[in-house]
Amino acid sequence: MDFSELENDNTGRCRLNSPVPLVCLKEACVLGVDEAGRGPVLGPMVYAICYCPLSHLADLEALKVADSKTLSESERNRLFAKMEEDRDFVGWALDVLSPNLISTSMLGRVKYNLNSLSHDTATALIQYALDQGVKVSQVFVDTVGMPETYQKRLQQCFPGIKVTVKAKADSLYSVVSAASICAKVARDQAVRNWRFVERLQDFDADYGSGYPNDPKTKAWLKKHVEPVFGFPQFVRFSWRTAMAILEKEAEDVVWEDLTVGDQESAGRITSYFLNEGPRTHLRVPHRYFVERGLESATTL
């Protein structure tokens, strides 16, 4: 896979795809959707689709693709290479969502949670296949969240296609297994070749699996905390593990969209009953100054 675009700028998202096999433009196809790297606190999440004509489904099954989690890295790479050899009837496309995109989405003014991000990415990939002219007749999806609501949503988006959303679809349908292999191979490659945006000092690449419960990953996070900036962008700031470490080891940050009103009045209810002296008759500055955030400086 050619990741040069991602290596150039890994702060957003990046799409990669195979050429569309000619046969997929003519014959009815099955399409599988799966993801890799949803859980880790480090690195990107990858969404992949894989498709082939119904008439070639047996050929895909003959490759003995299986759920990528049950395969070793070398087996996954071997299977992906086989799929590349079968490019006359197997096509794929994938979206790499950078950890920075995940953090900024989940920590936005309007929260955009990981499930919605996942659903929208999957929907966009299916639409992408359709836009390329792939004759999709059936879609199989490994579920994220409740399968029923997800299926209903996708079915509404693609009324002409039979949509099946299931838990463990990656081990039930070979076309989803194939998608899971594409996603996992891409995620591994993206992590391995990750270019840190920051110029880190004393950097150690031994961050373990990237999963929050891996002691190695946790130790790596603790080691790479920067008191002001927190972590490098390789880390998903929106993960509870990352937040907990920042809370302890980094400086506090107060954002302008945080409601400070509560803090201001809390604990000062007594001010209604007690004469606290000058505090109770403050002279409010003119609106001109308030609107411009100007205050008289009493100290620097």
Partner: protein, 170 residues
């Protein structure tokens, strides 16, 4: 507001060290839409600057996992930006002594009449550590735009000059 200042905190007389204005080196500044509850050096050049991208609608970066959009703001003509720091050390010995032992340049001394004697805990010195003629203003997820508070604040000096100017008799 004066009344509040007097009652709520110690009153200080602040003196500027004019020589620092001349020596201040230019600095790159970023104004973020958040407050970091600490005052300490930060590796801006290693963590922040390399992450800035030119997006379709202005500069893009993220801080602590939150998306920022930024734009350059120029200091209005006729004004200069300085980063000012209060001297940690309270009044030094030399500040009490007469001219003979004053190591500072001529303009260091108050030009107007005879300066009042300095008092410990009352007089403070500030000096410039850096100068700037522009800075990058960052907004949370959106470009701060023309209505940004700080843009309004920058109009105050010219308004202040006008309203404090001498009005002709007739």
């Amino acid at each position: 507001m004066e009344s509040r200042d007097e009652t709520m905190m110690e009153k200080h007389r602040v003196h500027l060290r004019p020589i620092t204005l001349r020596d201040a080196a230019p600095a790159t500044l970023h104004l973020l839409p958040c407050e970091v509850l600490a005052s300490r050096p930060a590796p801006v050049g290693r963590f922040f600057t390399p992450a800035i991208r030119q997006g379709p609608d202005g500069l893009e970066v993220s801080f602590r996992g939150r998306s920022l959009r930024g734009e350059e703001v120029a200091v209005p003509p006729g004004l200069v930006g300085y980063v000012m720091v209060t001297e940690e050390k309270l009044i030094g010995k030399q500040d009490f002594l007469g001219d003979s032992e004053n190591n500072y340049q001529e303009e260091e001394r108050e030009p107007v009449a005879a300066p009042e004697p300095l008092e410990r805990d009352f007089d403070r010195f500030i000096g410039a550590t850096a100068t700037f003629s522009r800075f990058t203003l960052w907004g949370l997820e959106t470009i701060p735009g023309p209505d940004a508070k700080v843009r309004g604040a920058l109009t105050w000096p010219s308004l202040a000059a006008v309203i404090h100017a001498q009005v002709p008799e007739d």
